[in-house]
């Protein structure tokens, strides 16, 4: 976590990254832990967190904070929006037709200094609608 650390390659961390990139749900640390446990029987949850934090720091994945009491992780580090189902809490990616125009903000003192935004959508997913 110390930014001057030169990270080594680790099969565990590589697998976490790969797993995250290959699944499009946005799993929690715990979900990943149980999935990884199959391949690394004596894996510990603490190291899943440690590796996730390193991957976030390296900018290859991102941590999602979507209003739950726990974090989810996304193999796609590029900023993008999500759709959260208010019934089953599943999270899916959302593509925007256009980039948001930040000029919709009317606070003059802030408007010029906005460096980013986070836009997420809520509703009932297709599965829960049936």
């Amino acid at each position: 976590m110390d930014s001057k650390i030169k990270y080594r390659k680790s099969r565990q961390r590589d697998t976490i990254q790969e797993m995250l990139m290959n699944r499009k749900d946005h799993p929690t640390a715990d979900t990943l832990f149980f999935e990884l446990k199959k391949e690394f029987p004596d894996l510990s949850l603490g190291n899943v967190y440690r590796n996730l934090n390193i991957l976030v720091e390296q900018g290859v994945i991102q941590r999602l904070d979507l209003g739950s009491t726990f974090n989810r992780f996304d193999g796609n580090a590029a900023p993008h929006s999500h759709f959260i189902c208010t019934i089953c809490n599943s999270v899916s990616d959302v593509d925007l037709k256009f980039d948001l125009d930040v000029s919709i903000v009317s606070n003059e003192s802030l408007a010029g200094h906005i460096s980013g935004y986070k836009l997420d959508f809520f509703g009932v997913c297709e599965k829960c609608r049936r």
Copy 2:
């Protein structure tokens, strides 16, 4: 928290609500706790949480989840955007000139079923810019 409970009036809860409505920073439970402690010397943090949850349930305040490890609370229950300073982590309200047009979402299967969105902005606040 049981939705069939008929809440009584409580000076503690009223004060929390009032305090929240009168300040425009968006305090954490802990911050409120220390502030309230002046007026209620043997207040417990647990009850601050209990009362905040009741107020959220009643829809008079809202819980903010802005990416930190803790929640903040907002005396304004109406959905609105926030600006989070990436230096000092302060949170301020943001007014939008227009309501966001949800048709910017291109996922056809979701587009018609979006019931809400959450839009927050990031940058460096005026104080930290100096």
